[in-house]
């Protein structure tokens, strides 16, 4: 349910101040020993529960009512440049954010979306459901974005699928885009299926390539299937919009435009307290964050590395090259490396400039994760290993002889440099 209005019953309020402490937004203060709402109140309702005197009342409306109101509000605005009512037109990206920053995948999808929109002779819109992102919205124009719909409310800092699904479904029904791109992040994978079911339209997961057929305006969604041994191009022939999720790192963000973004902000008066699944608390994990997607150089190992001890050699090499370390599914399953560092179909998709594949045979499930990498150097004992088919530099040999030699050589070179300079 979505809150609408809070009200203080003056006769019941004792001015105890419990509500002032309960409010996260400075939305309530004491005036003449009575509670009083300030401009900052966002009607979240946190104060209602805190009041021992039951002196605060809240009027609520259901999500359906709230969604209807939002759609009416948006209908009135009629701001988008896309065609409406008649047919589905326009490419959309539904963005996400974390810690007050727009997620990288939004820029990647915007760049691809820009290309698709140009091919279809239509516009690109990004939807952001969040808070505190105002300063970052203009920058989206550099990636070819025409319009931004910014659904803004302080409570949208934390992710709730209900807010994303309700808002996105509603906007899509009003503005009828033909294509919707969503990042295949855990958040995207959480809300996209729910959204597709609500709209009764097709959803294709984890695409590794996208294209359009200008005549039919069909989105060609290519993804690995049958365990990655086959690539399948999936279409959504009859229902609209055509929705897909795309792995972060699949497309490169490209600054190739200088469009003036039309930003439209709309408030969504949402209350996380009333979500069907409520967040009780968020616990931080004490762990070094692994960010393989942004790594420039990656040293990766597979079963051919042989042991956990040997993996330490790869770590040493990675450190010398200022690289991140990664592994295949098998290396992760054997516990040679943490699962967060798995590259491939069930792991991360990476786009480093240099990928050094050590003892990796090159199962297709792994290769789909590195297909957009720059240079690939493969070291493997088996000359027939499939990894050599995609590697620009192939070395047939034992990882455990070549890597130590390479480490020595790099150390020598680095020392040499120090002496000279």
């Amino acid at each position: 349910m979505i809150c609408v209005k809070v009200k203080i019953l003056q006769d019941k309020c004792t001015g105890c101040g419990a509500c002032v402490n309960a409010c996260m937004f400075g939305g309530v203060e004491l005036q003449d020993d009575k509670a009083s709402f300030t401009q900052k109140c966002i009607s979240c309702g946190a104060c209602v529960k805190s009041c021992p005197e039951e002196a605060i009342e809240i009027e609520r409306e259901t999500p359906a009512q709230a969604a209807k109101k939002l759609s009416e509000e948006l209908n009135e605005l009629r701001f988008l440049s896309v065609h409406r009512d008649t047919e589905h037109k326009g490419v959309w990206v539904i963005g996400e954010h974390a810690s007050g920053k727009i997620h990288e995948v939004v820029y990647q999808l915007a760049s691809k979306g820009h290309e698709l929109a140009d091919l279809l002779n239509t516009t690109l819109t990004v939807v952001m459901v969040g808070t505190g992102l105002e300063d970052q919205l203009d920058g989206l124009g550099d990636y070819g974005v025409d319009d931004v719909i910014y659904v803004n409310n302080p409570v949208l800092g934390e992710y709730h699928w209900e807010f994303y699904v309700n808002t996105a479904a509603d906007l899509i029904m009003v503005y009828k885009p033909e294509i919707v791109l969503i990042g295949a992040t855990p958040i995207g994978r959480d809300f996209a299926p729910r959204l597709s079911k609500r709209l009764e339209t097709g959803l294709t997961a984890d695409c590794t390539w996208l294209d359009v057929e200008p005549g039919s305006r069909l989105l060609l969604q290519t993804r690995p299937t049958f365990g990655g041994n086959v690539m399948a191009t999936i279409i959504t022939p009859d229902s609209r919009p055509q929705i897909c999720t795309v792995r972060p790192g699949t497309f490169k963000p490209e600054i190739n435009s200088s469009k003036e973004v039309r930003i439209r902000t709309t408030d969504f008066n949402a209350c996380p307290e009333d979500c069907m699944a409520k967040i009780v608390k968020i616990v931080k994990k004490e762990k070094k964050q692994v960010n393989l997607e942004d790594a420039i150089i990656i040293v990766a190992g597979g079963r051919g590395v042989g042991s956990k001890e040997n993996f330490k050699l790869l770590e040493e090499l990675a450190e010398l090259l200022n690289a991140e370390i990664a592994g295949t599914r098998m290396a992760c399953e054997l516990n040679w490396i943490e699962e967060e560092r798995q590259v491939g179909q069930t792991g991360k998709t990476v786009t480093p400039s240099l990928y050094i594949a050590c003892g990796i045979s090159g199962a297709i499930q792994h290769l789909v994760g590195i297909q957009n990498a720059g240079t690939i150097i493969a070291i493997n004992k088996d000359p027939e290993a499939p990894i050599f088919n995609i590697a620009q530099y192939g070395i047939v040999g034992d990882v455990n002889e070549i890597v130590p030699a390479l480490i020595e050589e790099i150390k020598k070179t680095k020392c040499g440099k120090t002496i000279i300079t």
Binding site: R189, R194, L218, G227, V230, L321, Q371, I390
Partner: protein, 268 residues
């Protein structure tokens, strides 16, 4: 309380090979297994039963041979197993699949003598398709909340408390009233091994409920291939990059060559 677990029979893909001549998947002699994450879902259901008391029902949609996976679920300790099998279900995408399973759950609920609160548990994703879509779509079909990527689950007094891991560095603790659908990760538990007696029971005493499209009152336009919103347009072999350069020599010579190119590229 009724706890439903959705399971999928998948090929054990570890041994999958490509036929070098045809470039297609060699599917012969590949054992069919329960999707590994679904075993964690079964274990989670059994633990909920142990703590609260509940009727546990495993549901699978698939060809007749998927019965094997359901027998395994029974052997692990599930009370009932239901196979949704019909030629009309074939070729379903995730949307059609979630509709079909939702119809079966609704039928079980309608047949239940009292209005029981219920929980649905799924594995986050299957190893063959890797879409992770059916869980949330099923929850939307049933009109109930879902909690995905669940690594810890406690059910008490009709309330579900789940640890959800959407971000790498944090865990969100979520709370929801039944009915709820959760999708679980492998961190949630270690699936139990069936005992000999439970295996015998699963094959001798327990029966698999089999329902077709008519029995679950399915709308024919929402199931199988014709009910799918997505279609396969083209299938092809992954592209191979060319232009490879072989680096040869002793380990030291190779190391020198690599090191030189790293230096040229200003990597070191």
């Amino acid at each position: 309380m009724i706890v439903f677990v959705c399971i999928k029979q998948v090929p054990g893909t570890v041994d999958v090979k490509i036929d070098p001549k045809t470039g297609t998947l060699v599917r012969d002699n590949i054992p069919a297994i329960i999707n590994p994450l679904d075993k964690h879902a079964i274990e989670a259901a059994l633990q909920v039963k142990d703590m609260n008391g509940a009727e546990t029902i495993a549901i699978s949609m698939g060809p007749p041979q998927a019965e094997e996976a359901l027998r395994e679920a029974l052997a692990m300790g599930m009370d009932k197993a239901c196979l949704l099998t019909d030629k009309a279900f074939a070729g379903a995408d995730t949307l059609a699949t979630s509709y079909t399973i939702a119809q079966a759950i609704k039928k079980f609920l309608a047949e239940s003598s009292e209005i029981a609160p219920y929980l649905v548990i799924c594995g986050t994703q299957a190893i063959d398709g890797d879409t992770a879509q059916v869980g949330a779509e099923l929850a939307e079909s049933l009109g109930i909340p879902h909690i995905s990527y669940t690594s810890n689950l406690v059910v008490k007094d009709n309330t579900v408390v789940a640890h959800q891991e959407l971000a790498q560095n944090e865990v969100a603790v979520l709370e929801a009233l039944l009915p709820v659908l959760v999708t679980v990760t492998k961190e949630i538990n270690i699936p139990r091994l069936p005992s000999i007696s439970s295996i015998v029971d699963a094959y001798d005493k327990k029966k698999i409920i089999k329902w077709n499209a008519v029995e679950i009152e399915a709308d024919i336009t929402k199931i199988g291939y014709s009910g799918s919103r997505t279609q396969v347009w083209k299938i092809f072999s992954p592209e191979k990059k060319t232009g490879k350069i072989q680096i040869t020599g002793t380990a030291e010579e190779i190391a020198q060559q690599l090191c030189k190119s790293f230096k040229d590229e200003k990597l070191i």
